[in-house]
């Protein structure tokens, strides 16, 4: 627990900067002054603060070498030689100029321009697609001609013969399959079994059927 004197020292030392800056009122100043006169530790602390503040006044304002600002002067004169940052600056300034131009434009232009640009792009794209459709038959025809030119007439004739042979083979296979399905496996047995069922029923009931079978 600090003593009364210690806590007073603490608060007085907190007020040192306020005293130096002239921020204390008259009563605070009197309390401060009387304490500093009577307390050696606070007097030393105050003296230290005064020395620091006086030394601040001794610190000079320093100017940079002219060479440091030479590239800056060249930049403003528009001489782009020999200083790497200038190129960056010119590029950035171009972008910033475009941005400024965009920002400074009226609202209807700012928002209208992208809409018009989009519409123009859409028209251009659709036009190119239509043109492509018109060109397509020509392209197919040309492609066919090109492909014909690749094979000799003998090769084409041989290919047609092979194709006819294949078609005949497929026709024969188709007829055989139809006969097999229709005659043996599906149609005839089913018809026979149904007729046999009706026959049995008629014998059992001894009554003629109203409806004929298939």
């Amino acid at each position: 627990m600090p003593s009364n004197s210690e806590s007073q020292c603490y608060f007085v030392q907190l007020q040192i900067d306020g005293y130096i800056d002239g921020d204390l009122n008259e009563t605070q100043r009197e309390v401060f002054t009387s304490h500093v006169h009577s307390c050696e530790a606070c007097a030393q602390e105050f003296h230290y603060a005064q020395v620091v503040q006086d030394t601040f006044l001794e610190l000079p304002q320093i100017d940079c070498d002219e060479l440091v600002l030479e590239p800056i002067h060249r930049l403003s004169k528009g001489d782009g030689s020999g200083y790497g940052a200038e190129q960056v600056i010119s590029r950035q300034s171009l972008l910033s100029q475009i941005r400024d131009l965009f920002i400074s434009a009226p609202a209807f232009m700012r928002y209208g321009f992208p809409v018009v640009l989009t519409a123009v792009l859409a028209v251009l794209i659709s036009t190119s697609v239509l043109n492509q459709d018109e060109v397509a038959p020509f392209n197919n025809q040309q492609l066919a001609l090109e492909s014909v030119e690749i094979y000799s007439p003998e090769e084409v004739f041989q290919a047609l013969q092979d194709l006819n042979l294949a078609i005949d083979y497929l026709n024969q296979m188709g007829k055989r399959t139809e006969a097999m399905i229709g005659g043996r496996f599906l149609l005839t047995p089913l018809q026979d079994s149904i007729n046999a069922s009706f026959e049995k029923a008629r014998i059992r009931n001894d009554e003629p059927l109203q409806n004929d079978p298939i």
Binding site: D17, G18, Y19, I20, D21, G22, D23, L24, R29, T33, V36, H37, E40, A43, Q44, E45, F46, H47, Y48, A49, Q50, V51, V52, Q53, T55, F56, L57, E58, L59, Q61, I62, D63, C64, D65, V68, L69, P71, I72, H73, L75, S76, K77, A85, I89, Q92, S93, S96, D100
Partner: protein, 198 residues
């Protein structure tokens, strides 16, 4: 525009460079900051409110200094400078005028060790003598915030061990009696001493 730009450079170059010089350890860094500030001035010339050009430049300088401090590694401190100061401080039989010079150098080093915004505010207010309004504009703080940081920064500065030891060695353990200077008189001395900065 070019003429006005050149005039602005001539008007503010010393203030910008001084701020960077007292904030950063290396001279080259201070020169880099000065260049960066005036390049940005050129880039943003059209958008700046030219009635507040001084505050704008100091704000840019402050930000550039912070960037450079972040880039600085601890080992990059200007050690030669420290050695010089320590050697000189070690010899006890120096003239009073020379001691003042050592204390000045040690004070500059102590300022550089402070964190931001304490460092910037002390440089702007105590070294460069800027008004509270100018500091407010530069750092975007209220006046009360600036004052609080200023007083805290000064206390941190006085707590610097090297600076305190140097003071105690030079002033015989503090046996000299403190001479109370009236605040008004000190204030006018402060303004007079920093009038070249305005």
């Amino acid at each position: 525009m070019r003429v006005q730009y050149q005039q602005a450079i001539e008007q503010h170059r010393q203030r910008v460079y001084s701020f960077a010089h007292y904030s950063l350890r290396a001279k080259e860094d201070a020169e880099d900051v000065t260049q960066e500030v005036f390049i940005k001035l050129w880039q943003h010339w059209q958008k700046i409110d030219h009635s507040k050009l001084g505050g704008w430049l100091m704000r840019v300088a402050h930000n550039a200094v912070i960037d450079h401090v972040r880039k600085q590694r601890p080992g990059e401190a200007n050690l030669d400078h420290y050695v010089d100061v320590d050697d000189q401080a070690g010899s006890g039989n120096q003239e009073a005028k020379f001691d003042q010079e050592i204390f000045k150098q040690q004070l500059q080093l102590a300022i550089k060790t402070l964190d931001d915004p304490f460092r910037s505010i002390i440089i702007m207010r105590d070294v460069q003598g800027l008004s509270y309004a100018e500091i407010q504009a530069s750092l975007e703080m209220s006046e009360s915030q600036v004052k609080v940081y200023l007083h805290r920064g000064r206390r941190k500065l006085r707590d610097n061990t090297n600076l305190r030891q140097l003071f105690e060695s030079q002033f015989n353990g503090g046996s000299q009696t403190a001479k109370l200077v009236e605040p008004a008189a000190r204030q006018s001395a402060n303004d007079k001493g920093n009038s070249h900065a305005k």
